[in-house]
Amino acid sequence: MFEIEFGDSDSVVVEGRLDAAQAVKAQAFLDQVGGQCVLDLAKLEYVSSAGLGVLLKTHKRLMGSGSGIKLINVNHHIHDIFRYSGFDKLFEIVPASN
């Protein structure tokens, strides 16, 4: 299961498993986003390199216009993936409170 949609305060809520089968859906949604983008990952259970590619491509596009992606409510496992990938140096990341 994977869902991506606009949440409150113009954030984008990502839920479920962002794997290679869902990367096209995620990219199509994020291609429509402009300006500063806050991705709420509280309900993201899993991300693979295909999902990381979607985040990187979108971040680079938005950074080109002076904005970018902020990742919030990042759980421990997802944060590990970001750290191993060096994404913790590329994105503003706010860990989940628990």
Partner: protein
């Protein structure tokens, strides 16, 4: 536990179902799930994406290991590709030098506890182990 999967990303949900069944059946610690899912997906996706000269299904075998799980993926009638020789990724590179792609095998090598490769009779078999930390 073993199963063959078609060469399609749509099979990922079925691979996850297989992994879930193994973890439940053998009471494997759930803390290992995400690493097992990640490594299995990355290796499967790599075979589907780059071994395009065959249409044979990919065999995935999973069994409990002493302190975790052992997973093997076998691809038939393909060229040799040892994932341990994958090109390294500079994860410290600045954003402008980073490109999507290339991270999958890097993450596998970084996150699994051991990985083994066999190539015989045009069969390419990758085995990895994820252990309880």
């Amino acid at each position: 536990m073993q199963q063959k999967f078609s060469r399609s990303f749509d099979e990922l949900k079925n691979i996850v179902t297989m992994t879930e069944a193994l973890f439940l059946q053998d009471r494997i610690p759930s803390g290992l799930r995400n690493v097992v899912d990640l490594a299995t997906e990355e290796l499967f996706v790599n075979m589907v994406t780059y071994n395009t000269e065959t249409d044979q299904k990919i065999l995935i075998e999973m069994l409990p290991h002493e302190h975790g799980v052992e997973v093997s993926l076998t691809d038939y009638d393909v060229e040799r590709f040892d994932p341990r020789a994958a090109r390294p990724v500079d994860v410290d590179a600045p954003l402008e030098e980073r490109t999507p792609g290339g991270l999958g095998l890097y993450l596998v090598l970084k996150m699994v506890d051991s990985i083994h490769y066999e190539y015989r009779n045009r069969q390419s078999k990758i085995t990895f182990i994820v252990d309880r930390k």
